[in-house]
């Protein structure tokens, strides 16, 4: 085992590198991913090493990136597509929803589309309009796709390899605000031995409240749990990792023991991921619930200008406020 301490961005780079090295059917496609190495440098150095056919700078057209990835997959390739920012995935929505998601069912399993759609996601980075979106719910609602969101360097490295290895299309969310955070990474981990792509993770055990989140908010949830502990509340933090399907066994087991659940995400609340998780948990754990599940989410508004994003994004205080609400307390804030 060879571990190194790297940022999450570098961990993704290592994972992509290994996928390219392991399987010559893997090709990377996207805007500015080749010579520049991507605006976040996630693909840095890969074109130089693997050449322009394996790491393709494409013309500026997202629908075409997905559409040609489908054709490549049709021929046996495993395309890994980068959407430059979350807000630029919508021009490709038709190809994703009507083609990528439906092809395997349409062809009765004859045509597999092992396409990985990498999307830098979410806010908290002080960026411009369309650069801080959280479109996870659109994809989780779409049958035929798998949707994951990574929260730390080791998961980023392992899960990108698993996503590429999966015979299903995977929408792979990378929270931008975590790109620069470092951690220990073994980029040669045996994929079969690693937790499967669909498994949630108890990021911190606790007994009073279950706090479910994913991606960029996992660290916030851990911080909230640490803060709550000082106040005498024990929070179990679950990192969903997979948003579709959700690993409900892990979530339900926790809620059966705590009786209370808070679900947090950056994306809008209405018909969002938290609604789904909350209702499914209500269905499966109704008699264990001491209180209605609480959602701590972005508001139902277009992403605000960055000076105001802190008033949109769930932070430690809003998570603790949610915890208080699910505990039936009215929080008196610091």
């Amino acid at each position: 085992m060879t571990t190194q301490t790297v940022t999450m961005g570098k961990a993704l780079n290592l994972g992509l590198h290994r996928a390219l090295a392991d399987d010559d059917k893997v090709v990377l496609m996207g805007e500015d991913i080749g010579r520049l190495g991507g605006v976040y440098r996630i693909t840095d150095g890969l074109q130089a090493e693997f050449g322009q056919r394996r790491v393709m700078d494409t013309p500026l057209a997202e629908s075409a990136i997905l559409g040609t990835a489908i054709g490549l997959a049709y021929r046996g390739y495993r395309p890994v597509v980068e959407i430059q920012f979350d807000g630029f995935v919508y021009p490709a929505f038709d190809q994703i929803v009507s083609q990528v998601a439906k092809m395997h069912a349409r062809t009765r399993g004859l045509v597999k589309l092992p396409i990985t759609i990498r999307i830098p996601v979410g806010g908290g980075i002080g960026s411009a309009e369309h650069h801080s979106e959280s479109p996870e719910a659109y994809f989780a609602h779409t049958a035929g796709l798998r949707v994951v969101s990574v929260s730390n360097p080791q998961d980023a490295c392992t899960m990108i390899r698993q996503a590429i290895a999966s015979d299903d299309p995977v929408v792979f969310f990378e929270p931008k605000r975590r790109y620069h955070v470092k951690g220990e990474v073994d980029d040669a981990l045996d994929l079969a031995a690693a937790p499967p792509l669909g498994a949630a993770r108890v990021a911190r055990p606790g007994t009073d409240v279950t706090l479910v989140t994913f991606g960029g908010l996992v660290q916030t949830a851990l911080d909230a749990a640490a803060a709550a502990e000082d106040e005498g509340t024990s929070i179990e933090v679950i990192d969903l990792r997979s948003l579709s399907p959700v690993d409900y066994d892990t979530v339900a087991a926790s809620v059966r023991s705590t009786g209370r659940v808070v679900i947090a995400h950056e994306g809008p609340r209405e018909v969002g991921i938290a609604a789904e998780v909350a209702q499914t948990i209500t269905e499966r754990c109704f008699h264990f619930l001491e209180a209605a599940p609480v959602r701590v989410t972005g508001h139902d508004i277009p992403y605000p200008p960055s000076k105001l994003e802190k008033h949109h994004l769930p932070d430690l205080d809003r998570m603790l406020d949610g915890v208080d609400r699910v505990l039936g307390r009215t929080r008196v804030s610091a």
Partner: protein, 355 residues
Amino acid sequence: MPETVRLLDENGVRIPSPQWDPLIDDLDEAALADLYEDMVVLRRIDAEATALQRQGEIALWPPVYGQEAAQIASGRALRRDDFVFGSYRETGVAYTRGIDPVEIARVWRGAAASAWNPYEFHMATAQVIIGAQTLHATGYALGIQNDGSDQVAVTYFGDGAMSEGDVSEAMIFAATYGAPVVFFCQNNQFAISEPVTLQSKTPLADRPVGFGIPSVQVDGNDVLAVTAVMRQALQRAREGGGPTYIEAVTYRMGPHTTADDPTRYRDPAELELWGKRDPISRLRTLLETSGLDGPELEARAAAAADRVAAAFRAGVQNMPDPEPMSVFDNVYAEPHHELDRQKNEYARYLEGFAS
């Protein structure tokens, strides 16, 4: 805009062309008679399908009627290992690939989401989203290029499709990478009720030129011309010359689908005019002129059409409905615990009725 390539005029008279003739000099009478038979069979499949729709055996059918030459000649020009990405109106192309029309009808009957095995026939199943398949073909062509193969990807689409952003993007990608793909546009003059003049005031074949793609307009009702231009395009792609666009100018003699009523929007005089440009009778005249026995030719083709039609009808009528629980099949390639759960729930629900 180059002129429209035409090697056989509307009256079945051969128009010699030093440029194009060498590309079809192997098309002897036997080969032409085969093309004739293919077209007759195709027209019969359409007629049979329309009848089956009226009888409620299939829900819908998009006829190829009028476009037989465009589809048969271009399809026959392909090599077996070339790969086709078409729309929902490519019965003729599918026929040239050896695909059983029963499989096509399976989809229009609502018994399957798609029909044949794409890898068996080197043809993707039908695409309903207008223009989407042009990108798939371009991507497939990039794969061909990566593999260093001399196969060609061929995409079929309509005049209406030319307006969808996906089709422009496909041409842009194909041009940038010099991908071995042929864009075969069947300009049948209509997108449902909309005349092609609504998609463009200028010839559609001008567009690819703007993207840097060689473009040729061809009389789509002329098997000879379609064969020639298609062979040239395939040859160019095989030799690394990149994409070509072909616009086959033809006419949708039937309705958009069996659900459509073209009398609401179509000029009868126009229909009549195009009826005189029929691809089948044109070829028949040529064959007769070159000495073949017309009635015999016709009888042989009719017999083939009868055979195909009978098998088609029987295949459709005897088609079983799919299994209820199959709705859950193949949504994912790998195990999916949540969908399994839904599936089990629904199975239990159905069992409730049995008890």
